[in-house]
């Protein structure tokens, strides 16, 4: 088990390097001059030039990249060009709300999606199955910003059940919990469809296998056959799918955070890009990459927990 984790960690090093390079190059391509942004609109050309030299922006790209790697290795991601706060400080404040939002949406949508898929599988061909599949198709095809706006309109504005702007506190406070509700609901809807569909087809496939017939021949109850032998084995591809969907979830987090003014990494990144705050944008991209790698690492660990055949 430990070996699997270490292997996966080693494999993520080149991925991270690639992300660093990509983030670095991307910012070279975007319009706008960092030195100009930093100096402000009223600065004289001399000042801009001085800042450029100071930041090393006049040196060759490769040298700049190496210097960037060195700084990152020391945990120095630079300072925000707008607020002049350390990027680590900005990201540090934003990471909590984002993790909260992701967990909040995963914790309800994955169990619900799995339950819906299992129910659809055991009621295959009935109107229950068709209803569940219709919902999951809707979940896949409705864009998240649209769903968010509907939720805000009806649950927020008309019924006034939940607040929909900002995050008054962490989830364990009453206000924080209520504020988390709508963003987590919208973001979770992204996952429901794919998880329900994958669970349905996976459970159907497993239930037709020989070992399920053996389970029945042992005299187990139909409930136990479905859950302990059908669903248990069917979870293996579902977990893989959740890992693959993690990218969508992170992208969805950017949209959700923006719509609900959720002070997370996604909103920070969008704000940084719109205001040409390159250092913060770079840091946010790196953090997203780390998030993606972490989710997939967790998926790999879960995978080997679920399937003894892949354990070393």
């Amino acid at each position: 088990m430990l070996k699997t984790v270490l292997d996966r960690l080693a494999l993520s090093v080149p991925v991270l390097l690639g992300v660093l390079l990509f983030g670095f190059l991307l910012l070279q391509l975007v319009p706008g001059d960092p030195a100009q942004v930093m100096a402000g609109p009223t600065a004289t050309p001399d000042v801009v030039e001085a800042i450029r030299r100071d930041m090393g922006l006049d040196r060759p790209l490769l040298v700049q990249f190496w210097a960037y790697l060195e700084r990152v290795a020391h945990g120095d991601f630079g300072r925000s060009m707008i607020s002049n706060k350390a990027v680590t400080e900005e990201l540090g404040a934003a990471i909590g709300p984002t993790v909260e939002l992701m967990l909040g949406s995963l914790l309800w949508s994955v169990p619900v999606g799995i339950a819906m898929g299992t129910l659809a599988a055991v009621t295959r061909g009935t109107w229950i199955d068709r209803g569940i599949m219709a919902i999951s198709v809707a979940g896949v095809s409705l864009p998240i910003f649209f769903v968010s706006l509907l939720l805000i309109q009806y649950l927020g504005v008309v019924l006034r059940w939940f607040p929909f702007i900002g995050r008054p506190g962490p989830w364990y406070t009453a206000e924080g919990f209520m504020a988390l509700f709508l963003p987590a609901l919208s973001l979770g809807l992204i996952l429901i469809g794919p998880v329900a569909r994958m669970t349905r087809s996976s459970v159907l496939e497993v239930l037709s296998l020989d070992h399920v017939r053996t389970a029945r021949a042992k005299g187990l109850s139909e409930m136990r056959v479905t859950l302990a032998h059908g669903l248990r084995n069917a979870l293996i591809p579902v977990v893989t799918l959740i890992g693959l969907q993690a990218g969508y979830l992170l992208g969805g987090a950017v949209v959700t955070e923006t719509i609900f003014s959720w002070p997370g990494v996604g909103r920070l990144a969008v704000g940084a890009i719109l205001s040409s705050d390159f250092t913060v944008a770079q840091g946010a991209v790196l953090l997203f990459a780390l998030g993606f790698i972490t989710i997939n690492l967790i998926v790999d660990i879960l995978y080997s927990l679920l399937d003894p055949r892949v354990r070393k």
Binding site: R213, A217, K218, L220, S221, H229, N233, L306, P308
Partner: protein, 331 residues
């Protein structure tokens, strides 16, 4: 409720249908036989003759739909399984009736240890104490002669060979000391030396535990070696039923004769294997008369026109053929 005088299992005019998009077809059509306590009954026939469906039908493992019991009865100690509640039937499954399947490689759940899978069966039939169930699981693995059972009990199926997995399957089927063991081609997927070991094991266990066995096979060698009585099935029907010695010394149905001729022999030289010409009629186009008529060298107009009933020709020797008794097909 136990009636010691009635046979352990009485299958009477069993008919099982499958509904498909092309219409319903009968996989089992009027099958009758009995299994006495402690005896071994062989059911032989080629693929698709309904022998597996019959065995699944006895266990209550036919998926419904598409399967459907359309008639007959399956009496276990005099009580009809087909009129029992689902709950009662389930308590017999894996309890007093155990089943071994053809495919040891896929018949165990890959994500649980073999011990877990045996214990699960024990617990489903009332053994609540975990420690006791585990001890019993190890005993069972020892009974089916799996080496070092105390360690292997925590192995996963993929850590075992095919023969070992079949031993685990047998342990599973025997877990709750069944009175009836159904073995659906238990050795087909195994290589020859392992086949002999598994058959020895089954025979030995049935004499030790007194369990009756229904042995489903297409292998007449297996029948000769293990069975007391034999049922020969063809296209969903019983064509011949006899004690094993009577069947081998005097087969009466042309199909049985053909099957026996198809077994390669060590004492005669032959360059080619004997085969039965033609194929089984498809289930949706079953002929009016004898289902074997189109392949039978002795078929007459009567054979093609009406179905022959099972008639008793000798003591306990029944055959469904208008031309019986025939001693030998002119070869």
């Amino acid at each position: 409720m136990q009636d010691q005088h009635s046979p352990l299992l009485e299958v009477e005019d069993l008919r099982i249908e499958f509904r498909t998009e092309g219409g319903a077809f009968r996989a089992v059509d009027g099958v009758s036989f009995t299994v006495e306590r402690g005896k071994t009954l062989g059911i032989v026939g080629e693929s698709g003759c309904g022998k597996s469906v019959t065995s699944l039908g006895i266990m209550g493992l036919i998926p419904q739909p598409p399967g459907r019991y359309v008639g007959g009865s399956i009496k276990f100690e005099g009580r009809d399984l087909l009129t029992m509640s689902a709950k009662e039937r389930r308590s017999l499954r894996g309890g007093r009736m155990g089943m071994i399947f053809q495919e040891p490689m896929t018949s165990l759940n890959p994500v649980y240890t073999i011990g877990h899978q045996i214990i699960e069966g024990l617990r489903a039939h009332g053994m609540r104490d975990r420690a006791k169930a585990r001890k019993r699981a190890i005993e069972l693995l020892d009974l089916v002669r799996l080496p070092s059972p105390a360690e292997r009990v925590d192995d996963f199926p993929h850590q075992l060979s095919g023969g070992q997995r079949q031993r685990v399957m047998i342990a599973l089927a025997l877990a709750n000391e069944p009175d009836l063991l159904i073995a659906d081609e238990p050795t087909t997927a195994l290589d020859v030396t392992i086949q002999a070991q598994i058959l020895d094991l089954l025979r030995d266990l049935s004499t030790r535990t007194g369990a009756a066995i229904v042995m489903i096979t297409h292998d007449l060698g297996v029948v000769a070696e293990t069975c007391d009585d034999v049922v020969v099935m063809y296209a969903g029907r019983v064509v011949e039923r006899a004690p094993v010695a009577a069947l081998f010394s005097g087969p009466m149905h042309p199909y049985t004769l053909g099957l026996m001729a198809a077994v390669p022999r060590i004492d005669t030289r032959s360059d080619r294997l004997e085969t039965i010409p033609g194929t089984v009629p498809p289930p949706w186009a079953m002929p009016e008369g004898c289902r074997f008529a189109s392949r039978c060298p002795l078929a007459t107009d009567q054979c093609r026109a009406s179905q022959p009933p099972l008639r008793e020709m000798g003591t306990g020797h029944l055959v469904a053929c208008w031309r019986a008794p025939i001693e030998e097909i002119a070869a």
